[in-house]
């Protein structure tokens, strides 16, 4: 979704277009029966895995002989202990255990030791069903409402390697193969240096990192997974809305990166990017109640060599409150200042612009409830006036999510998303979606889920992706080991 995902999205667009021409329309009932049968086969095949406890990054669970819920309210969402473990560079909070835990001489290493640093996760939708109004398809009747569904296999495979190399030095690398996006590669990879200058004074991350990892609203820790949009390959116009936490999204239509590629309005970006290359420093020098974070990144869609005129900067603070009565709360704010990190088409050429974002988020946890939300405001500045005559330079997004265990093994997740879109006035369309998901853990490392997303503004009509997608249903599986 971040730097490398924009060009990747084009590959997926091609896939989507292919699907649009080949997809068969199924009855939902028949599809669900087939899906359940498919799920049974998949789950049966995994059920006998000798796993005691593993989710999210199960290597940590193995390394410390802990259940995943020691660090997670519900994977991938962290609880406060997990957050402090992350902040401490994968060391137990209040300790520097990287110097002693699990360290062995090279000659003593075994596969079990390898497993303490490595985990895998396989997830994906085995059923996708979109109910939408057809939008000017070639050779089809415009305006007809139809269901399109497809069966598949879990298609997102992640390999994690994470842990401590020595005292106060950690490493994280995630490789991902995503068939939907047609991408395989290193998603994130960084090294951490912790407790520099004293306990929790400065923790440094260097590499390809997710800036919002320690924010009150973390892009990568949402229960409702990203569902990519469908676009017209010739015009780059969005044909079917994507289902993303819209506060994290780019929100602009017609915005391009410095290579000229259109940036998806749904792509998590800037401070909320999945991964950007740079360095950041954060810490809690005055106690647990206050955290600072500052960072420098290459910027949106910029890789090695960084052709930007300058780097992007961000800063964030986080205030934490309460550590008793099974309750905790945090409030965060950030500012991300882009520096020639995007371009706008002025009719003849793409011209540089600064793409900035400001945001605030809150996170409340009480027993079985996990409520978090974020508001972001994006602004395009320093672009020639001529380029902005048909371009709204402001956009905003809101995401609010609630996760709750309704039983010991069943997690209910709700999410509200709103985007007041900016960008090209001929394309931009604001949108509001509500999503609901039930996820049931068959065992600690195998879960099945069913999800329904509903377009709350479908009645407003209009021939745009944000209106044409009525609702969508997904059934999937999530396996970690």
């Amino acid at each position: 979704m971040g730097r490398h995902r924009v060009p990747v999205r084009r590959n997926r667009v091609a896939i989507e277009r292919e699907k649009d021409t080949d997809l068969r329309t199924h009855s939902i009932g028949a599809t669900i029966v087939q899906t359940v049968a498919g799920l049974f086969v998949v789950i049966s095949g995994t059920y006998d895995m000798s796993v005691q406890t593993a989710e999210a990054i199960p290597a940590f669970a193995r390394k410390y002989a802990l259940n995943c819920t020691t660090c997670h309210t519900a994977p991938p969402q962290l609880n406060t202990f997990g957050e402090r473990f992350l902040e401490n560079g994968y060391q137990l909070p209040g300790t520097e255990d990287g110097g002693i835990t699990g360290k062995k001489n090279l000659g003593d290493l075994s596969l079990d030791d390898f497993a303490h640093y490595t985990g895998v996760r396989l997830r994906g939708n085995v059923l996708r069903a979109h109910n939408f109004k057809q939008q000017n398809p070639p050779g089809a009747e415009s305006g007809t409402v139809q269901n399109k569904s497809e069966l598949g296999f879990p298609e997102v495979f992640s390999l994690f390697t994470a842990g401590t190399l020595s005292k106060d030095m950690g490493v994280f690398a995630e490789m991902e193969s995503n068939l939907e996006e047609g991408a395989t590669g290193i998603e994130r990879a960084f090294i951490t240096f912790n407790n520099v200058g004293g306990e929790n004074i400065a923790n440094i991350r260097i590499g390809k990192l997710d800036p919002s990892a320690v924010f009150s609203f973390s892009t990568l820790r949402q229960q409702l997974e990203f569902i990519g949009e469908s676009t017209n390959s010739s015009t780059d116009a969005v044909q079917r809305a994507g289902l993303f936490p819209l506060a994290t999204a780019a929100k602009f239509y017609g915005l391009r990166d410095r290579s000229g590629a259109v940036i998806s309005p749904y792509a998590p970006s800037l401070y909320n990017a999945v991964a950007e290359t740079g360095v950041e420093v954060r810490g809690r020098p005055f106690g647990d109640w206050f955290m600072y974070q500052v960072g420098v990144l290459n910027g949106s869609n910029e890789g090695f060599g960084d052709s930007n005129k300058g780097k992007d900067f961000y800063g964030a603070i986080r205030l934490d409150y309460a550590r008793s009565a099974n309750f905790s709360a945090s409030l965060s704010g950030f500012a991300y200042l882009g520096n020639s990190n995007a371009t706008v088409f002025d009719g003849t050429r793409n011209v540089d612009a600064n793409w900035n974002r400001y945001g605030a988020a809150a996170h409340l946890r009480y027993k079985m409830l996990d409520l978090h939300g974020m508001y972001t405001l994006d602004r395009i500045t320093h672009a020639p006036t001529a380029a902005l005559s048909n371009f709204d330079t402001t956009a905003s997004g809101v995401t609010v999510a609630l996760d709750a265990y309704v039983t010991n093994r069943t997690l209910l997740s709700l999410r509200y998303d709103n985007m007041d879109a900016g960008g090209d006035l001929t394309q931009r369309t604001s949108q509001t979606f509500a999503g609901m998901q039930i996820k049931h853990y068959l065992r600690s490392n195998v879960a099945v889920y069913a999800r329904h997303d509903l377009n709350l503004r479908r009645a407003e009509e209009g021939n745009a992706a944000a209106r044409n997608l009525r609702h969508a249903v997904f059934v999937g599986i999530d396996i970690s080991y």
Binding site: T53, T70, T80, R84, Q91, G94, T95, S324, F327, N408
Partner: protein, 257 residues
């Protein structure tokens, strides 16, 4: 035989050395020690045990969710992991052992805190419960395993397993699938559902998996859980208790005796 004797001697020497070393690093009890322990607690322990040590930290609920266990309430509750008779407070060594070893599945080992820091935390934990000032916990006598167990130790242990109806909770084969456990009848002191320990998986034993750990668990029970103390039943029959230990070890494929 000589080798076995030497092994026991070595274990005793190492254990004694470690205990002595840990004790030697123990700071004097006092306000400064408690204050430092409080500081460490606020960094490392507060997330599960809460600001006031009531076991209500912000991460504590998610560990067991609607089931046991909940993090320990240091201000009032009885303690599961002890070497003292049922109903009594744990010794300082018990607390030190728990912090050092952790509780598989639920609490990490904090051996990354140095020994002095662990003692400081213990001083702070004890300051949360006035009972520690009034009582002097006394551990049960923990005899060494017999050097020459009887040849039919496991057979005797199996008979004791049946006699004391361990199978009711732990199941016929020790897999934690006894009828009471499977029926969901087992509850802890908070009235939360709790499952019986799978005795075939030593890595999950909350109170440790060495023969001494098993002996201690049998004799003292795990207060606040359905696991009772069997000290009265084995009074004067310590060798029989060791037979039960050998049998429990054999359930997990360990050699037993």
């Amino acid at each position: 035989m000589h080798r076995r004797v030497l092994r026991y001697l070595a274990i005793l020497m190492v254990t004694g050395f470690c205990a002595t070393t840990a004790q030697a690093l123990r700071p004097k009890d006092g306000r400064d020690t408690i204050t430092e322990g409080h500081r460490i607690y606020d960094r490392a322990c507060v997330w599960c045990h809460g600001t006031e040590g009531k076991g209500d930290g912000p991460s504590g609920w998610s560990i067991g969710r609607y089931a046991a266990p909940r993090p320990r309430d240091f201000t009032a509750e009885s303690y599961k992991l002890r070497s003292t008779p049922s109903g009594e407070l744990p010794t300082d060594q018990d607390l030190f052992r728990t912090i050092t070893q952790g509780i598989p599945g639920f609490m990490p080992s904090y051996r990354s805190l140095n020994e002095q820091e662990r003692w400081q935390v213990i001083a702070y934990l004890k300051s949360l419960n006035p009972a520690f000032e009034q009582e002097q916990p006394t551990p049960i006598v923990l005899p060494s395993p017999p050097l020459f167990p009887s040849g039919n130790g496991i057979t005797n242990g199996r008979a004791l397993y049946a006699k004391y109806e361990c199978r009711t909770c732990h199941g016929d084969n020790g897999a934690g699938d006894g009828p009471e456990s499977k029926a969901g009848h087992l509850r802890d002191a908070h009235n939360l559902p709790i499952t019986a320990t799978d005795l075939t998986d030593p890595s999950s034993f909350k109170n440790g998996a060495t023969p001494h750990d098993l002996y201690r668990s049998i004799m003292t029970g795990l207060d606040g859980t359905p696991m009772p103390a069997y000290a009265d039943q084995f009074a004067g029959q310590e060798e029989a208790a060791w037979d039960l230990v050998w049998y429990l070890q054999s359930l997990s494929g360990q050699p037993g005796r």
